[in-house]
Symmetry: C2
Subunit: 324 residues, 2 copies
């Protein structure tokens, strides 16, 4: 069979042809070798046309109102003429059978908007695989002229790290509640945040929200900022009261402008690309290791010996590596 010609895909993407955009994404998500090779060639050709967007990651545990928040933000931006793509990283989507964003009706208004494009999370066996595909889908959207990319992730597993490492701004959505509810945040997530928005800041919630805001500001005080250019703000927003969406977007724009001015915007992206290359190199090395049949047979017994202190971790590592 002749290899798939990448050029129709490339032309389709660059002219913003929705059907070709979606077909390219299907190639990217396919596990067939010929599809992957075609996707690879398409990606190389569209690469010079990518990068001209603001990439915003949004995380938050189930129940914080993430879908509604993203829909409101998406409509707000699309109404202004922005072309908005909404993607998702959800490594649980295969197992659960469902997927965040799997059902576009969850964002009914946004999905009907001519300036918006919504794509559910790619399925995949590993978070790394899901994240890799989402990265490429993001680049396809950029090449197709989308200038705001919203990447949603569920607040479970390690998906936040993956999303934070592919976006320009990482937003953590929270809600205030009866004292302990705010504990729902996972280790490390607070430290990845470029900004925090406490959602559902309306009605009876308001006093709890104000308390949560103060507490969060205190907590953030203990985290040394990565750069003097930016200290993560804590905002409040609501799907009932207007204005919160604008406040959040203004924060993202403020960050964007400041980071552009100092050069940190490009620096962060370069850093992310290089990090991503090394992540893939390490994944490739691990794959070679685990694809080795002898090693794979030895791992369970060796692991057990290490756990029970029959052999040292370094002897075990040397032994396993010697089979490579």
């Amino acid at each position: 069979m002749a290899p798939i010609d990448p050029d129709p895909y490339v032309r389709g993407i660059l002219s913003g042809h929705r059907r070709m955009i979606a077909k390219t994404m299907t190639l990217i998500e396919s596990s067939l070798k010929e599809h992957q090779q075609a996707a690879f060639r398409v990606m190389e050709k569209i690469l010079p046309h990518t990068g001209k967007s603001i990439r915003l990651g949004v995380t938050g545990v189930p129940g914080v109102g993430k879908s509604t928040f993203i829909e409101n933000l998406g409509v707000y931006l699309a109404d202004q003429g922005h072309k908005v793509a909404v993607l998702a990283v959800d490594p649980s989507s295969r197992r659960s059978g469902g997927s965040i964003l799997g059902d576009k009706t969850r964002m009914e208004k946004l999905s009907a908007h001519e300036n918006a494009f919504i794509r559910p999370s790619p399925a995949g066996e590993t978070l790394g695989g899901v994240a890799a595909k989402t990265r490429e889908i993001m680049l396809v959207c950029e090449a197709a002229g989308f200038d705001v990319i919203l990447v949603e992730t569920v607040g479970v597993g390690q998906s936040e790290t993956s999303v934070a490492s592919m976006v320009d701004f990482f937003l953590v959505l929270m809600i205030a509640g009866a004292g302990d509810e705010l504990q729902g945040i996972k280790k490390g997530v607070l430290e990845m945040a470029d900004g925090i928005a406490i959602n559902k800041a309306d009605g009876e919630n308001l006093p709890a929200v104000e308390k949560a805001k103060t507490d969060l500001e205190t907590a953030l005080h203990f985290i040394r900022p990565e750069t003097p250019t930016w200290s993560p703000p804590v905002l409040t927003c609501s799907s009932v009261n207007e204005g919160g969406t604008k406040k959040v977007w203004d924060m993202v724009l403020d960050h964007h402008q400041k980071f552009k001015a100092t050069g940190e915007f490009m620096q962060r992206r370069k850093h992310q690309s290089l990090d991503w290359m090394w992540t893939l190199v390490e994944a490739g090395l691990r794959k070679r290791f685990h694809n080795n049949k002898i090693i794979n047979e030895k791992i369970p017994a060796v692991s057990e010996q290490v756990e029970n202190e029959k052999i040292s971790p370094s002897a075990a590592a040397d032994m396993l590596l010697s089979y490579l």
Copy 2:
């Protein structure tokens, strides 16, 4: 040359012979292949005699009074009949020419104590190398009958992660100051803490210390505890007022007893051993990659192309891996 016979070393360690303990550590720290092989054989033989200690990691940025704190704690324990070993992980020790604990006179009272053993940080080019040696030195101390191991680390670089992953309890020392000083804590360090002690809680500092304690408790509130067995406490201590050392040690003992009772103590150690094996496997894989001459020559140019978006991170990773 005949290989070094490990048995005299093993016998020396198990009988608590100081000179042989020190000589074994010198073997461990040596970069000579025959020394490393001998150290390896010694380690395998002493392994069944290790593990019977409480391993306490202590971190804190320069200026928090870490040396004095460790000396006080060490003397307090040694006076009670504990055999106390003080080790250090300081990846800067080679570069700076000096080393934390390099000068034993910094812990004059403790180093003169018959129940104490102080060892400066091994030198090493990588944090991984330094940490690996410290782990083995810790095991030598345990086989020699030391029942409390204090592992000190400087509050710079990534050394906290290494130390946290080799101890049973990770203590973060802080000081209160004029508002912003507490920001000195690094990203992630708070989340690794099993307990926090605010040092220099005396005299004029007391109001600031109380404020810092409350703020820290608020901040910790946002970090989901790893286990229902334990929420990291925030204590205060001082080298001027007595009592703080005992309070800190009681906290460590409380943690120890609770984790022993639930089985989490052994679980954490098993987990650390297995993690360590995988860390070494990955380091070994990376070494093979970087020792490849062609790959090494290609890396700078490929990295630059990735940074400047001439090629995609995944194409770059594939290309580099193809030379392996």
